[in-house]
């Protein structure tokens, strides 16, 4: 395992950046599950502003990697920047939104190197979209054209990307795609309004998969659907993903849903990454107080009835500079440092260190970055394996460094006393 690939790209940025955290194979023209685990999309220090008299800093230095064949969940409340991030990494931002910093690289398999998507020519970009990266939107009704049949809409996609494709071929592929997502192929003659909400979202998924992309971004794909249909769509996504091996970025505000279906999870707050790690570990005990708050905000269906609390307060105003931790004003554990210094992403400490973490000397021990770097931590210190620049599997941007970990089911009642 060596982080060797992408060499050509790594020298290009002005400042030295560490390589992608997960090794990337050098082999060319290899595809499928054998290369599972490689990075296909590598976003680093992405910053997006919504221009205006007072620009809104919607995404404030987010880094993450998407690996081949994984489902990466992006969670957070409205306004946390999760959709903006998705639009940024697919280069779909439109004014007034502007990418003001950071890079997004896509692993170009035939070329065997990372390609900076911001430097793609319009023609490269046109090909890249849908052939390599496609998107499923929240409102399937609005994503489909209401005045033409599904046949023509499949035709639009296929003809735009496959030169000289025949009508028969379009028909055959459209039918195959519908069948693939569990819809009667005869429905290819239907108009969107003739389909139920769940079926429309299936069609949206079929369209997204029409050109066998390597990455599919799902932006709140099930929010408008009820639970039974939501479950069907989720099962469908998982089945197709296992079959076809694409990677998924799954955006939703429903953390409990993500915990169940994702491999890894990015929790966003106020335009930054609050926590990033394997879903199973976050489910077992989130490190960031915000993630813990979110988990406590969603009652479980079968668990014991317990006192449930939301997160008091409201998200920060992103037009103003955020001093310290964005979550500090709402955080039950906040102490002096949290208001002054921006925490960087760092691996949480073991749950066993809980008592130590609550002690006042915590302030000396906790921060490993200065806050001067990016919030998402391109300047993060040595990882657990000692290699510089290697990111840990599980990280949280909190001065407590996850010291409040432990079973989420029991709200850390005593932890309130942790702050001065």
């Amino acid at each position: 395992m060596s982080a060797a690939a992408g060499g050509g790209e790594r020298t290009s940025p002005a400042r030295v950046v560490h390589g992608p955290p997960v090794p990337v194979g050098k082999e060319r023209n290899q595809s499928g599950p054998s290369r599972a685990g490689e990075v296909v999309l590598w976003a680093e220090d992405v910053r997006v502003d919504y221009m205006g008299d007072a620009p809104t800093h919607a995404v404030r230095g987010v880094s993450f990697t998407l690996r081949r064949g994984e489902i990466l969940g992006v969670a957070g409340e409205s306004g946390c920047g999760k959709s903006t991030l998705a639009y940024a990494v697919t280069r779909l931002l439109r004014p007034p939104a502007r990418l003001v910093g950071g890079t997004v690289r896509y692993w170009d398999t035939p070329r065997g190197e990372f390609v900076d998507i911001m430097r793609m020519t319009p023609e490269q970009l046109r090909r890249w979209r849908w052939e390599k990266v496609s998107m499923v939107f929240q409102s399937a009704m609005n994503a489909l054209n209401p005045v033409t049949s599904l046949r023509r809409q499949f035709g639009d996609v296929l003809r735009a990307h496959i030169d000289g494709i025949s009508s028969d071929e379009v028909e055959a592929r459209g039918r195959r795609l519908l069948e693939m997502v569990g819809i009667d192929p005869a429905r290819i003659a239907s108009f969107p309004h003739e389909l139920s909400g769940g079926m429309r979202q299936r069609v949206g998924i079929a369209m997204a998969l029409a050109l066998r992309p390597e990455v599919v971004v799902l932006d709140e794909p099930t929010t408008a659907l009820d639970v039974v249909v939501q479950r069907e769509i989720l099962n469908e996504v998982r089945r197709l993903q296992a079959e076809l091996g694409f990677s998924v970025i799954f955006i939703t505000h429903d953390l409990s849903l993500l915990l169940e279906i994702c491999d890894r999870l990015v929790v966003m707050y106020g335009g930054e990454v609050a926590e990033l790690g394997p879903a199973a570990r976050i489910a077992g005990g989130a490190a960031h107080p915000y993630t813990r708050g979110l988990l406590r905000s969603t009652p479980t269906l079968f668990g014991d009835r317990k006192e449930l609390a939301g997160i008091p307060g409201s998200p920060p105003d992103l037009r103003k500079p955020v001093k310290g931790c964005a979550f500090a004003p709402r955080c039950p554990h906040a102490f002096d440092l949290c208001l002054q210094e921006r925490p960087v992403l760092a691996p949480p400490v073991a749950a066993g260190a809980q008592e130590a973490a609550m002690a006042p000397e915590l302030a000396d021990r906790a921060p490993i970055g200065t806050g001067a770097g990016t919030a998402a931590g391109t300047a993060v210190g040595p990882g657990p394996d000692g290699r510089p620049g290697t990111r840990a599997e599980w990280e949280a941007a909190c001065h407590l460094r996850g010291a409040v970990t432990g079973p989420v089911a029991a709200p850390a009642a005593g932890a309130q006393g942790g702050g001065p």
């Binding site: 249909v229 708050g293 905000s297 009652p299 939301g310």
Partner: protein, 346 residues
């Protein structure tokens, strides 16, 4: 003790062609002071129609509504006292407040209509805002809806509903438009108000988990009918009707991930494994958009346990004390037929 009793409510909507659409089909229930009754079901099942009919915003085709044993008329002046006692909170706080008016205006009108004096009305508005934790009230009452967050708007909507000092609050998906971190605060607020003011609360939702946590009783609705009802823990932990079981198995289960992390496979709560074919069948049938014909059970085309007798209308049968399901499976002679149910029901 005040109670609102709905008996055999039927609501039909005329259609351009064919028979009228029966959105609510012989629904009966009772709202009692100090209790929360949850009404759950998928979109289009008739939940909101019941709320609208109960709020007298929608005429009923048949059936009666009785408030403390007095028949409530469909319309007319006599409704004024009923409306004072029965208030609604709507789903979308972005649509239910008038953007052209301040918060104070929204609260002043119901207060004046229901007999508060102009002289004292500002004090009353402040008291109302304080009761829904919109502080400082003097500051909040000057605000306009666009200056408030979604959660704050919903608090204003709740304050407006409380203005006439009602005994019954009908909350139609009060938190589904709000952020997850805000939802619980609103639900906790409703719960506190219920206890403080001894309100009867009808909580309409599609979220089984909050239904269980915030209500003492749950009714599950499917295609206009109540298919299951009972104490909330009974209905969620031991769902009886195949539709409720489907709902329970479809809900997100973060516990599964927790169990997986702990090394257990979480089989106890999972609906996977052996029931894949059932689910598949349910799904395909659901897409076929079956038309409920005649008296047959509405769920027949999606039901993995359907038998011949399901073509006759199923009665509400007792599953256990106080827990009923509208399903032939629970006729005493039929209990052995529940094969495969163990995996789904637990």
């Amino acid at each position: 003790m005040s109670q609102l009793e709905v008996a055999d409510m039927v609501v039909e909507f005329a259609q351009r062609r064919g028979a009228p659409l029966r959105a609510v089909d012989h629904v009966s229930f009772v709202l009692r002071a100090g209790q929360t009754l949850a009404l759950v079901g998928e979109s289009g099942s008739g939940k909101s129609t019941i709320v609208r009919a109960l709020g007298r915003l929608q005429e009923t085709t048949a059936g009666t509504v009785r408030l403390d044993n007095e028949l409530v008329p469909q319309k007319g002046r006599a409704l004024k006292s009923y409306r004072r006692r029965v208030q609604l909170v709507f789903q979308d706080p972005f649509a239910s407040l008038n953007p052209a008016y301040s918060v104070a205006h929204h609260l002043r009108r119901p207060l004046l209509v229901h007999g508060h004096t102009r002289a004292r009305v500002d004090q009353d508005i402040e008291a109302l805002l304080a009761s829904v934790n919109l502080v400082p009230p003097a500051e909040m009452m000057k605000r306009f809806p666009h200056e408030l967050s979604g959660g704050q708007r919903q608090r204003v909507a709740i304050a407006r509903a409380l203005a006439p000092n009602p005994d019954f609050l009908l909350a139609d998906e009060p938190v589904s438009m709000l952020d997850v971190s805000i939802r619980l605060e609103i639900l906790n607020l409703l719960d506190d108000l219920k206890s403080q003011r001894n309100l009867a609360l009808l909580y309409v939702t599609h979220d089984l988990a909050t239904a269980r946590h915030f209500s003492s009783e749950i009714m599950v609705m499917y295609r206009g009918q109540i298919v299951e009802r009972g104490a909330s823990d009974d209905v969620i932990l031991h769902p009886a009707h195949p539709y409720t079981r489907l709902l329970a198995s479809a809900a997100p289960h973060p516990e599964r991930a927790v169990l997986a992390a702990a090394g257990s496979n979480g089989e106890g709560t999972s609906a996977g494994g052996g029931t894949v074919t059932d689910e598949e069948r349910t799904r395909r049938a659901g897409e076929a958009r079956e038309a409920a014909t005649g008296n047959a059970c509405r769920f027949i085309a999606r039901c993995p346990f359907a038998t011949e007798q399901c073509h006759r209308e199923p009665p509400e049968l007792e599953v256990s004390t106080g827990h009923q399901a509208r399903c032939w499976l629970y006729g005493s002679a039929n209990v052995p037929e529940r094969q495969g149910s163990g995996a789904r029901a637990s």
